[in-house]
Symmetry: C2
Subunit: 114 residues, 2 copies
DNA sequence: TTGCATACCTCGCCAGCCGATGTATCATAT
DNA sequence: ATATGATACATCGGCTGGCGAGGTATGCAA
């Protein structure tokens, strides 16, 4: 849906943390889930997500674990599953609050509010 | 309130267009108005706004006009007033819609939605 | 065996925020 | 007189980070 990429920035981290707090996921899956959950309004690219995941892991907000894909899904494939750390959970809360504040402030101006 | 700068990005253009469609304003004023209107939740910097204004003017979305400040406000001062062009008004509508779509999509994930 | 989906990854380009810094004017306080 | 601070404009360089393009490897279907 072609949002200006600048809008995309800033939303990546909070979204990844929120999804991973629901359940552990692997990178490729995250891309698909985000695109599906937003009905294609957000179109994440792998070139965006993977570096972001590595940054988050480097910051200790998420952790990774290699595992085999379930036999009934994709037998023989290796996947790198990410989960949120304790530190990441705190950050996620902070970011969600931040988003709420921010989107409220912007909407107030944009959607005709004093 | 210290939003990650990435969040700030992308909101600058639509906000400037929205404010200038209300009435013509000068740069310094825009900074103050945004900060006031959002109760300090957004803290715009001049180093951010002025280049943005120049970009917008370069893109033909806004136009500028030097004028003296009213005598009862700041006598003897020059101000550069900006107004939205016709092209800018169209872009503003597009951006407002974009923001609505985007914030809906992000909120759906962040604030516990399927 | 060609193609496509899955699944991971890196690299370089470039857009743009912001701290720092600079200019000039005017009002106020010392 | 002089310093301070608000007003009002501006630029510059550092750094961050999205994304297009490209790469590797596997499994499955046509």
């Amino acid at each position: 849906m072609d949002f200006s990429q600048d809008l995309i920035r800033g939303s990546i981290v909070p979204i990844v943390l929120a999804l991973l707090e629901e359940r552990a996921m692997y990178g490729y899956e995250i891309v698909k889930v985000v695109n599906a959950r937003t009905n294609g309004r957000l179109e994440w690219k792998e070139g965006t997500l993977y570096p972001a995941l590595h940054r988050l892991e480097g910051d200790g907000l998420i952790s990774s674990r290699w595992a085999d894909a379930p036999a009934d899904e994709a037998p023989g494939r290796k996947r790198k599953y990410y989960a949120v750390t304790r530190k990441g959970k705190a950050e996620r809360k902070r970011r969600a609050r931040e988003w709420e504040q921010f989107s409220t402030a912007v909407s107030a101006i944009l959607l005709g509010g004093a």
